[in-house]
Amino acid sequence: MEPTERQQRIFDETDAAAWVESGMTIAIGSPPPMALVRQLIRRGFSDLTVIDSGLSLDLLIAAGCVRKVVSYYAGGGFGVAVAPSFRRAVEQGEIEVWECEEGILATGLQAAAQSLPFLPWRGGVGTSLPQINPDLKIMADPISGETLIAVPPVKPDVTLLHAAAADPYGNVQHLGGPGWLDLFLHRAADRTIVQVERIIANEDTRANPWATTIPSADAVVRSPYGAHPYYSRGFYVQDQEHLQAYVKAANAAARDNRSDDLARYLATYCREPATHADYLERVGIKRLLSLYEY
């Protein structure tokens, strides 16, 4: 049967998480799509290769989901020089790092998006990066012989993003620009799932098509406050207190081997709430409403 109507791409966070399997390469945008990240933890995925930075990466490591990290930055972002669970797991040799750098990662993602077996990049020439990441090859450019780094494709199986809005057909619009490498992560991925604060009508998309940042996301997940405890541009700011509580718990586990608080955090906020709405209920509406932008 031919379909007679355009098919919608709206999923809930539980269905969307079914697109992920243990062992996959998962890319996580900025701000991190925490409703989806928490679903990964709840499902108990393991052996993931994670392309991410910051504390969402740390949480996935703390929850035991990660085997390999592709990251240019695993700091905490507000006085947390290095994300605690990341630091401990790397120092203990429990996870592997595919050492890279922002420009090099963008180049590898671009190579994947362009179906190219490599792209050259100059940033990193002279550094230790090609020694500690043997996938980065020093090369002489074929025209003038200059020294460059050949970066292989970096291909996420699934990219998870957070954005302001999308229509039912996967047309995504950000407020205040997409984060960091979001568009690179999307273009390189086999599939892209975008959680959004709001689902808008297709008419809203066509009213300002230039604002469409991702034209055909594979799935759209409605997740109001879905980036919490992170910010969502145009909606709310970061919940510093919540993040600091997480960092404290993660530090206790990583530095002092006291993992009770971290286990409690993971249970309370990631494993027990069956849905995103259940999570928000635990955070509490008063706290959420206090995170206004101005």
Binding site: P31, S53, S71, Y72, Y73, A74, G75, G77, F78, G79, A81, V82, A83, F86, R87, V90, E91, G93, V97, E99, C100, E101, E102, G103, I104, A106, T107, W121, R122, G123, G124, V125, G126, T127, S128, L129, I132, E146, T147, G176, G177, P178, G179, W180, L181, D182, L183, F184, R187, T213, Y231, R233, V237, Q238, Q240, E293, Y294
Partner: protein, 267 residues
């Protein structure tokens, strides 16, 4: 010390004076001294500067005050935006970066201004200390017209003879043409600014060199806390203290939350 400013304020003022109108200033996360410095320069003498914070590009010379956010990763800076660089093009006009100025910290910085954000320890598979990772420093330091190494503390653990790993190439193993030989177009590190002093790089061999001591700091203080032999010109100059106007602007139009003025002297 009886100074009426903190070392962090002095560092911000030194850097601000060295920035020229029309330059594009790229500021990463968690560098309050730098965040203050670029804002101060913009207010005092840089109406044509462009400030890029985390992908948000702005010129806010029309505003009376440019408050620093309470934390580095505050997306509320978008309220000042004229454009975004995170449109999937972050690295797409590198050719223009000779007009750009960048600021970098480091877990380790060595005598030739190479820096390390990767980690410490002889075995990369089992680091004694795992750092945050290179962020965008390898690419930015390759291309920008010049950059500043800005350290929160001045210790021999940070200022080392030789980095365990290099995540941003400064002057390699030295020599005026060290960067040229590798084909790196950017101008390299200009100053290393710490709570104790300002250092630059000697013209001939690019060895790090004492440029100016902050008021009240002795040359011995600095050498004691530096992990390599610091070249020292005679006589050593002193970092000019902030003027009353600079301090006033810094405190009333930039650092409204007092992030720098409440800082203690870094060790």
């Amino acid at each position: 010390m009886s100074q009426d400013y903190t070392p962090q304020e002095l560092m911000a003022v030194f850097i601000a004076r060295d920035l020229r109108d029309g330059e594009v200033l790229r500021v990463g996360v968690a560098m309050p001294v730098v965040e203050a410095a670029v804002r101060l320069a913009h207010v005092m003498h840089g109406p044509n500067m462009e400030l890029i914070f985390l992908g948000t590009r702005m010129n806010v010379a029309h505003l009376h005050s440019l408050p620093m956010p309470a934390f580095g990763w505050d997306r509320r800076v978008v309220r000042w935006a004229e454009s975004y660089s995170d449109t999937g093009h972050r690295f797409d006009r590198v050719k223009d970066w000779h007009r750009h100025v960048f600021f970098i910290g480091g877990v380790q910085v060595d005598r030739f201004g190479n820096s390390n954000l990767i980690g410490i320890g002889p075995d990369y598979r089992r680091l004694r200390f795992r750092g945050p990772g290179p962020v965008g420093t390898a690419t930015l330091t390759t291309h920008v017209g010049r950059y500043y190494i800005v350290l929160n503390s001045h210790t021999p653990r940070t200022l080392v003879e030789c980095c365990d790993y290099v995540s941003a190439f400064g002057w390699g193993t030295g020599g005026a043409d060290a960067r040229q030989q590798l084909g790196l177009p950017g101008g390299g590190p200009k100053y290393c600014v710490t709570p104790l002093c300002v250092m630059d790089f000697a013209e001939d061999d690019k060895h790090m060199r004492l440029h100016a001591l902050h008021p009240g700091v002795s040359q011995a203080d600095v050498q004691d806390r530096t992990g390599f032999d610091l070249t020292t010109p005679e006589p050593v100059s002193t970092t000019p203290p902030p003027t009353a106007e600079e301090l006033h602007v810094l405190r009333t139009r930039v650092d409204l939350a007092g992030l720098l003025s409440r800082s203690t002297k870094g060790e």
